[in-house]
Point group: C2
Chain length 216, copies 2
């Protein structure tokens, strides 16, 4: 297919595709004439993955290039491929290591992971972006005196495990490894506002049930 069709089928504007080609995120097409190239299904799949990382995941171009290189490593199992892509996603501010509260928060998070038996997370803690994201969030809660010890966090973690099971079910519906990586990035990112808005709606329902007067 030509660039115009690649654009139409992917929903990515031609100018954006040209930018990805220049940045070598997308391999060049087969040159037909001096100004035209032919693209295949492989380009379409790769383009969807690049878009998932950059447009949806807001991963910087240089990082996306590293992720794509890592994904090409034949020796990686699919778990590591999914990790290479999702750990590249932005995770908010890193913990402030100069703040004593960070150490206390890290202690609670480590205890939580041990209580849950989350061995992969425990083992990768020092290099894991979502682990650092959790430490930052728990530090903020602790400093305001809000409950965020392991006992308070455990039920939230159990609920998160239910979400993860559903997420992985959707990811496994995709047939090829690269489509699964694309789905992991897209679903991780785009289901976040779904989840947060559903929580806010559910809070309003629950608040109405508990505190509403004659307006249920």
């Amino acid at each position: 297919m030509r660039l115009a069709e690649l654009s139409e089928r992917s929903g990515v504007p031609s100018a954006t595709i040209k930018y990805y080609l220049r940045e070598e995120l997308l391999p060049a097409g087969l040159r037909i004439t001096a100004t035209q190239a032919e693209y295949g299904e492989e380009h379409l799949r790769r383009l969807r993955l690049v878009r998932a990382l950059i447009q949806i995941g807001r991963v910087p171009v240089a990082t996306a290039r590293e992720v794509l290189a890592a994904l090409g490593d034949e020796s990686l199992d699919q778990h590591r491929r999914l990790g290479a892509a999702t750990w590249a996603l932005p995770h908010g501010p890193a913990p402030d290591e100069s703040d004593p509260a960070t150490g206390a928060a890290r202690h609670e998070v480590d205890r939580l992971l041990a209580d849950l038996g989350w061995r992969f997370s425990s083992r990768t803690a020092s290099s894991s972006p979502p682990y650092r994201m959790l430490v930052t969030a728990v530090t903020a809660l602790m400093k305001l005196g809000y409950p965020c010890d392991s006992a308070h966090l455990t039920p939230y973690a159990r609920i998160a495990a239910q979400l993860a099971t559903r997420d992985l079910d959707m990811i496994e519906e995709r047939t090829t490894p690269m489509e699964q990586v694309e789905a992991a990035v897209t679903l991780t990112v785009l289901y976040e506002p779904v989840l947060l808005s559903l929580r806010r709606l559910a809070e309003a329902e629950e608040s109405n049930r508990r505190f509403g007067k004659g307006n249920g």
Copy 2:
């Protein structure tokens, strides 16, 4: 107490407190001398609420002033107070009404709320910020061809309801109505990164369980 003590007990810098005083988000203290004023416990509680809205919730100052005025309305029940504060929180981009996919997304969201029996959310849909946030998120998923019909969203909504029950339990631990409003704002906002990071950690655990090779 003097300004310095109010700052120390609240953890809010003196300069920030003075800014809130100038913006009339915080009532003036009892004037003692030309340069000093005395503040009470009421100021401390109000200051914590103002900080929750502005620093944690990132609510604009003008909006925070409106929320505080609404909260002072004696005729409001506690459900409406909680709503006045949490609906003022940022909810991301509004749905693009010129996009035909928005109508389809709204249809799925309305069906979801009906299936769930979430009557408060159904009734307030047209004015509800979290409803609009959900429509925006579902539109984005639909346009990429990802599953987000009512059947796919229902399990996520049930999980959100579990979260909301826990959230309201924590809010109800606070004794005064205004402390509950402060807790609703703080917990809604600060538990979001907790939840999202736990979901990402749980996804990594589940991915390792399903796809990892000899690294469990």
